[in-house]
Amino acid sequence: MKRLNWKSGFFATAVIAAFAVTAAQAQVAPDALIKTVATDVTTVLKADPAILSNAAKLKELIESKLIPNFNFARMTQLAMGRNWAKASPEQQAALTKEFQTLLVRTYSGALANFRNNTIEVRPLRMQPAETDVTVKTVINQANGQGIPIDYSLEKGADGSWKAYDIIVGGVSLVTNYRDEFNTVIRDQSVDALIKQLQSKNK
């Protein structure tokens, strides 16, 4: 995994700054979006590492920077697969809420990884009409080992891109949970799955 040199780092920063200005009125390209979010989060974590042990501040960071860029309803639907149709609207709402809580909790712990490492976002080649893309990134760790992390994003009706899957080293979050959800529903029921998620989130 090639590391960014300072020139490309500077260039990327300039590009991000340009995007940050236009983000409010125009559509942000998916790779630029990922880059912006990653840079924002890394900047905050580097400036104030204590935030990682401050639950309230960490929650605020996640709620302001990360959650708006994920489509949790879509993630839940994909993780449920063919079982989604078997769930009532109330069950679907409960599943979405609990799944979001579980993911946020789990991965807020993983944020510590962003502090000492650099994130390299691979440029995305996409057609203008595409509405479903995968942005490839690599977390370059201090020991030289890179962790490939891909984000699948979908374009919403309002033109904004939201992530619906994270693929770490080839392991898709959605696929992983689909297998787990399937097992619980196969052996028990949708309600049992909701209960398990709830007790996990307590």
Binding site: T106, G170, T175, N176, E180, R186, L193
Partner: protein, 229 residues
């Protein structure tokens, strides 16, 4: 390693005759796998994990890194055959360069100079080589003491164990001690993943199975996803 062969034979026999009511695709012997998984978890909980925790707490960081690097260097050497069998010239060159540099200037692999110089690890094995030549993963297997695998990868592991420089250490006590140390070293490396697993999963068995099968598939395809290209 003999028991691996026994298990394989047993598994093939079982999957041929037994059918389970609610088998997940790719895991026809789930009830047996779950039994082995639970055995492995108990073994880990009472023996391996406490040893790894002790090692982690007592041994200084630099020494731990050195130990990890030495085993990693052996595994790079082990990768060479798989690189060659998959005709991956660039990876073969990288791994060969890594091993030569780290073994000499890195003093037997204690220092991973190659990574610092930006030479990537090929990270290949026989299981991936079989996959590269079109052999599917086959049924998912949980191997006693070793953990998640597949029929293909279990065969691969057997091959890899023969290729690892450790297997050429002639003194049996030394070889066994080194093998033990490599297991503890690998277990320490799993601590961060273990926390994530505990936090993220509803059913650890299913979570691990899914992650293992996806990860191996990804390694066989060298990081490309099936829908790419």
């Amino acid at each position: 390693m003999k028991f691996a062969v026994v298990i394989l034979t047993g598994v093939m026999t079982l999957s041929g005759c037994a059918s389970f009511r609610t088998a997940a695709p790719g895991d026809p012997i789930e009830p047996i796998n779950r039994g082995v998984y639970s055995f492995n978890s108990t073994f880990d909980h009472y023996l391996l994990k406490p040893i790894a925790k002790g090692y982690d707490a007592v041994v200084p960081g630099l020494v731990k890194t050195g130990v990890s690097n030495v085993f990693q260097n052996m595994s790079d050497a082990q990768s060479l055959v798989s690189d060659a069998l998959q005709l991956k010239g660039a990876k073969f060159g990288d791994d060969l360069g890594r091993v030569m540099l780290n073994t000499t200037f890195g003093i037997g692999g204690i220092f991973d100079l190659a990574t610092q110089l930006g030479v990537e690890r090929g990270n290949e094995d026989i299981g991936q080589t079989l996959g590269y030549w079109g052999i599917g993963a086959g049924p998912y297997l949980v191997i006693p003491f070793l953990g998640p695998s597949s029929l293909r990868d279990a065969v691969g592991r057997f091959g890899d164990s023969k290729l690892n420089p450790l297997s050429y250490v002639s003194s049996v006590p030394v070889r066994n001690s080194l093998t033990g140390l490599s297991v503890v070293d690998a277990r320490v490396g799993l601590f961060p993943a273990e926390d994530l697993l505990n936090q993220a999963s509803l059913d650890k068995y299913t979570f691990l199975r899914s992650a293992y099968l996806q990860r191996r598939q990804s390694l066989v395809l060298d990081g490309k996803r099936p829908k790419d290209e």
